[in-house]
């Protein structure tokens, strides 16, 4: 970990610390205070955007562990979110489970389904694994639609909002707090998971599967662990999404969302916890910008000409990042930090 000029680690604890200096702690607390003060300053619209960003961050953390760290490219992430979403929806709406009991069940169910669809990763990789995960998405959605009597099929099903001690998370502000608390926890765990033995194994697999195997990394175990952890995050995100809308339908998990989640990783920076946050925030804010700019542009041209602007802009941004900054915004952030840490020295 880079440290400010003149600061040195003098023990194992310091070496392992995520937040090493007082400045970093102050920055963290300032950020958290600002984040959790948002409902005091912002209206429902901004809170909705932030909540959706929070849910995306949780989901993309999972994809980052799976794809960014372990190099198991998944295009079925929205499908795994649907598993978590419907598990939570069914448990709360049909079996009267509390949201707090349903949420871990949703995570677990998505993780198990992830393991099942992760099995091909032991035999195939790269493009072929992508196709296997694409198939996973469509199989999951097909199964949900076929279970009409249970899931409501294409009509979907109403889902109760989370509740604790009689307090219902109905307002935008309350749900914002719920999502952000889970997103912060998810970020903390994601940062730590990749520093564990398993995390190091993921990185070894990503860098060179053969070398990792030769060193004694059990590919079978660790690839499936990556699928499990990645899909657990997806399950939590899916559950939070349907409880937010108070309705579950397969249309909330279109295939294109999986593509955009990968896009967030590209823009943010694969294999970086901060990259996930940068990617989710930047692409979602770009979405908002395009939504507002669309009607203004339409006044000059026509609504049809201004349509698809979102798709074009997102595609263009991903393309530009792939060409000019394949390591994403996280790398740019590292460069800024490096410059600051050496300050006032020029090198």
């Amino acid at each position: 970990m880079g440290l400010p000029s003149g600061t040195f680690n003098q023990g194992y604890a310091q070496d392992m610390a995520i937040f090493r200096t007082r400045t970093q702690w102050v920055m963290l607390f300032a950020f958290l205070i600002l984040l959790f003060a948002c409902p005091l300053f912002f209206g429902d619209r901004i809170l909705t955007v932030l909540t959706i960003i929070g849910i995306s961050i949780i989901s993309v953390h999972g994809l980052n562990i799976l794809t960014g760290y372990c190099n198991q490219i998944s295009m079925g992430h929205a499908g795994f979110m649907a598993v978590g979403a419907y598990t939570s929806a069914l448990l709360t709406a049909k079996l009267d489970f509390s949201f707090w009991a349903a949420l871990p069940c949703a995570a677990l169910a998505a993780g198990i389904v992830g393991i099942i669809f992760g099995l091909p990763s032991l035999r195939v990789k790269g493009f072929y694994l992508i196709m296997a995960t694409v198939a996973a998405h469509f199989i999951i959605i097909w199964v949900i639609l076929q279970l009409y009597g249970v899931t409501g099929g294409a009509d979907g099903m109403a889902v109760p909002r989370p509740e604790i001690g009689g307090f219902v998370f109905k307002s935008k502000a309350s749900y914002f707090y719920l999502v952000m608390a889970i997103a912060c926890l998810g970020t903390f765990f994601a940062k730590n998971i990749v520093r564990t033995r398993a995390g190091r194994a993921f990185i070894a697999i990503r860098d060179n599967e053969l070398a990792a195997e030769v060193m004694g990394v059990n590919l079978w175990t660790y690839k499936l662990q990556a699928f499990f952890i990645g899909c657990v995050y997806a399950g939590v995100a899916g559950s939070l999404l349907v409880h937010y809308v108070a309705f579950a339908t397969t249309d909330q998990f279109p295939f294109m969302n999986s593509v955009w989640y990968l896009g967030m990783l590209i823009v943010g920076g694969m294999g970086s916890t901060m990259g996930v946050i940068f990617g989710a925030v930047s692409l979602k804010l770009l979405d908002e910008l395009v939504t507002v700019v669309g009607p203004i542009l339409a006044a000059a041209v026509s609504p049809q000409a201004a349509s698809s602007l979102g798709l074009i802009m997102r595609g263009l941004v991903i393309l530009l990042f792939l060409i000019f900054e394949p390591r994403g915004l996280a790398h740019r952030w590292q460069m800024v930090k490096s410059y600051y840490r050496l300050w006032p020295f020029s090198h």
């Binding site: 912002f42 955007v49 099929g153 108070a246 339908t249 969302n257 939504t291 026509s302």
Partner: protein, 437 residues
Amino acid sequence: MTKIKWLFISSIIVLLLAMPLLAACPAEETTTPATTAPPPKTTAPPPVQKTLSIGGCFALTGAYAEDMAAVLAGFEDYAAYVNETHKLAPWRTETFPEDITVEVLWRDDELNVEKVLSIYEELKDKGLLVERTSGSPQALALMNLLDEDRIGATSSAVGPYLLSPPKTIFIQYPVYTDATAAIADWFLDNWEETRAPRVAYLTADNAMGKSVVIPEMDTYLESIGFEVVGTQYVPLVPTSPPTTQLLWLKENKVDLALGVMINPGAQPTVKEMVRLDMGPNLGYKITFGTASPGHLWILAKAMGELGNGYVCAGSYNPPEDLTVPGVKFCSDLQDSYRSDRVTHIMYQHGVVEAMIQVEALRLAMLKVPIDELAPVDVLEYGFYMIKNLETGGITSTPLSFGPGDVIGMDEVLVQQVQGGEAVALGTWPLHNIYKQE
């Protein structure tokens, strides 16, 4: 050096803290002071022009883009008509208040559920008292929120999910189950063989298409004498001809194929049917019918006689049929307010939707002054009070809504392509097939 660092960090924190505070300040407070300027001495001040917004979410990106662009054009032209004439339609005597301007607020939701949520909040913040949804995914995502916020909305998606329980999305053509049932009724009225006709679903593989494949629909079809064979799904916009699905219909000796498709799905399906010698007038006798999004006039215009036999329920009248007052009105609107003419049939839909939203606002203003108007007032004194709203024949019947009554009509128009032209076969009653819970 440390001091400079801390100074830098402190100023960033102060700046970040100040930004939300500044953002929280309402813009109005900084513009015109309320009490400083004395009133003009000479004449009475001109009436303050107030603004009311209509519109909502339009999926201008994705499979419905063409449809929604036409709907938006209908909204814009109708708003321009109301603003200029203060009338609501040529055949109506009521007027819209002259001191109120109607503006159209819209956003492209890209058929994306996550996006529609933030758009909904944005438009709500901007003071939109009514809403609209484009497709089933958005309607499904918003219907509970709309109900909780007591906001009335219109929609171009009419799945049965709107009825369980009836919420606050009001529709101007029947739900897909009732529309397809009307086709089945028409088919049965013309069935001449002694055996029971065999029916199958041939429908789009999304929420819209699958909404007709429900047990209640099977029960209804069987109750009127059909033998239900099964279901085949076609992609919403097929990337290859649905040969397998159509051959399955042939192998299972299906007489009537029912579904919900948009034109980009229906046209390749009908084309492939003809290639496989399947159709009411071809070697293998089969009739294919869809609910309203597979607009008949569009198909007839694009395919001509190739589309002969295709049936559609709940669709709009051909735009060139100026004998229908509503169609003539739409044509006049375009002459007056649009330089580039919209030829899409969904323009009529946009005009009617705008008509409903404006009518709801007008009725609500009869009870509550505009400055105090809240969405719930527009719902309860507006949408719920719309009775026999005459659309000049654009919709199958005049529209009536109320609490628990979100479908505007009781009958649906069934049309068929004959000789390459859209021909009206008549109207059939709605059966309310979907059980409301």
